[in-house]
Amino acid sequence: MSQDTKRLSLILLFAPFALWIVLLILLPHIGMVVLSLREKVAPRVYEFGFGNYVDFMNEPIYWNTLMRTGSMSLLVTVLALLIGFPVAYYIAKIAGKRSRGALFLMCLIPLWVSDLIRAFGWILLLRETGVVSSLLVWSGMTDEGIEFLYNDVTVVVGLVYTVILFMIVPLVSTLDGMGDDMIEAGYNLGGNSLTVLRRIIIPYAMPGIVAGCIVVFMLTSGSYLTPILLGGKNSSWFTEQIYDQFITRFNWESGAAFGILLLAFTSLVVWLGLRLSGQSLANTVART
């Protein structure tokens, strides 16, 4: 009897997880794969085939967009790490107990508003008649307003701003776990600041760094609103390509293929990153 109750409660506990995995993750992706393997031959006539993938291979625009998305996401990831690491180090190791919470909260604030509002905030600041440009004109530094929007730099800055928290949180939690004595031991045994950073702090924080990078890279390469709104006429982001396939061109088959390709591409990059850093998913993302 009690054995049965135990099993029942186990099943009940496991059920939401299993349902979630199967219904919301597994099934849609299988659907996407199946859809992506349908080739349209005539209205309402489809055949099984790899045509949608072949189309992708044969069209340099798609390739370039995917590569551009990938390389800019990597750039954003690197920048987020470079900016996020000192911030996380400050929060975890230098700031007092009381100010730590406040600092964390400040990092969280951008997440309280939606992606869209955040992007519009940037637009208000950076447009030709926006705050920054007006200030420059008012202070006499330029004669005419300057358009800061619609270029890659703005897109990268906007993306870094959006995702940096996801870099900081895992970093803070790993750095928090590192005792001060670890750093002092590093100095005591003769290391200078650079050695201590390179040989002790960074290797220790590696799981956090990798976890943060994975999350940031995935978020960035899968983001839609920020690159579109801030990038304007020159924004080529792969998610936009997918949206266009699905919505503007009614070409679900090729949109599904694109989605699968994006997933495969980002997974490949993450796998490469894990290989290069000698980490595994289990001790990075799963741990933080």
Partner: protein, 357 residues
């Protein structure tokens, strides 16, 4: 055991919503401003057993939504007249209209016939006209007084001060500006592709001249009112609204003719409130309701004397923009044959991806 219970539960839930929907809810899939609150209240007072639910969308999303469900989830949709034929052939998302239930007598015959011609498949008519308007140019007369052709958006004089919407309209417009008739080439897709390539080259070259591609009426209005741009492709209704706020901003029918769209009524294949849908159609065709509707949309109703039913301020803006000559010169969007959307989509992607500075 459990999955069965779950399935039964889901079915029951679905059935319940379905039943309640068929009883009294009209689910309307339409454009922003095409269902003003005032009209909905009036309608619900007249038919107390009908509740109106509105989803705002655009042509592409309307079709995508209906396609996802095979035409279920909505009881009345309002795509443009050129988005009926191919979508119906391809996905079967609409159902034939029962014209006897619609008060077609009040509709302006030109528009009615144009829509009928474009949306008849195997003798069944799938849409009737609702509102029509044009896509043309808009310029700030104090800063860009001599804008009159689509090509002027690419004039280096206005470098970084013009805008357009990177959708199929601008492809067609550019083709007309190049002296071609894209609709005539719909029958020969190879030739049409050639034309598209030329158009793409032109627009890529023009990219450096453009400040940004606008996405909707709001960002276009913001750029125009702030003076960041001085001329742009525009929907006439957007231009009329800006004219209200700044009389220097006027709508200009391009010399090759403003491109005319007609938004329609079409009933989704699995809609289950057809009676309510027909009631809504006839309701918004009543003259005093047309004035309310046009006040909200800024577009002209496709009824006899539609322009006279515009609110006074709009009427002034239209009269300022159009001469009789312009009206004779209107270019109606032709039906999009299957496959063309894909070709045009690819061309747009090419333009978007090109680096134009």
């Amino acid at each position: 055991m459990k999955p069965t219970i779950l399935c039964v539960g889901l079915l029951a839930a679905t059935a319940l919503t379905a039943v309640s929907a068929s009883a009294e809810t009209l689910r309307l899939l339409t454009w922003g401003s095409y269902a003003p609150e005032e009209l909905i209240q009036k309608f619900e007072e007249k038919y107390p057993d009908i509740t109106v639910e509105v989803t705002f969308s655009n042509n592409e999303e309307m079709i995508a939504k209906l396609r996802a469900t095979g035409g279920a989830g909505f009881d009345l949709a309002q795509p443009s007249h050129d988005r009926i034929y191919a979508a119906q052939l391809e996905y079967g998302i609409y159902k034939p209209l029962d014209l006897s239930q619609i008060n077609t007598d009040v509709m302006s015959p030109v528009h009615l016939e144009a829509v009928k011609a474009n949306t008849t498949i195997d003798g069944d008519v799938y849409a009737v006209p609702h509102q029509w308007g044009t896509t043309g140019l808009m310029a700030d007369m104090t800063k860009a007084p001599d804008v009159k052709s689509w090509a002027d958006l690419c004039d280096p004089k206005y470098e970084g001060k013009t805008s357009m919407r990177l959708k199929r309209t601008i492809l067609l417009a550019t083709a007309f500006a190049m002296g071609q008739d894209p609709f005539a080439l719909y029958s020969d897709l190879d030739q049409y592709q050639e034309l598209l390539d030329q158009v793409a080259d032109k627009l890529i070259e023009c990219k450096g001249n453009i400040k940004a591609y606008w996405q909707g009426g709001d960002d276009l209005s913001a750029m125009m009112l702030s003076g960041e741009i001085v001329a742009s492709e525009t929907w006439d209704s957007t231009a009329y609204r800006l004219y209200d706020q700044n009389n220097n901003i006027v709508f200009i029918p391009p010399e090759t003719g403003a491109l005319t769209w007609i938004d329609t009524f079409a009933i989704p294949a699995k809609g289950n409130a057809d009676d309510a849908a027909y009631k809504w159609i006839n309701f918004v065709l009543e003259p005093e309701n047309i004035t309310i509707m046009s006040g909200s949309t800024g577009a002209i109703a496709a009824v006899k004397g539609g322009a006279d039913l515009l609110p006074e301020d709009k009427k002034a803006a239209v009269n300022a923009a159009f001469t009789q000559e312009d009206i004779d010169n209107l270019k109606f969007f032709a039906n999009i044959p299957p496959g063309v959307e894909d070709m045009e989509g690819k061309t747009l992607e090419k333009i978007k991806a090109a680096t134009g500075g």
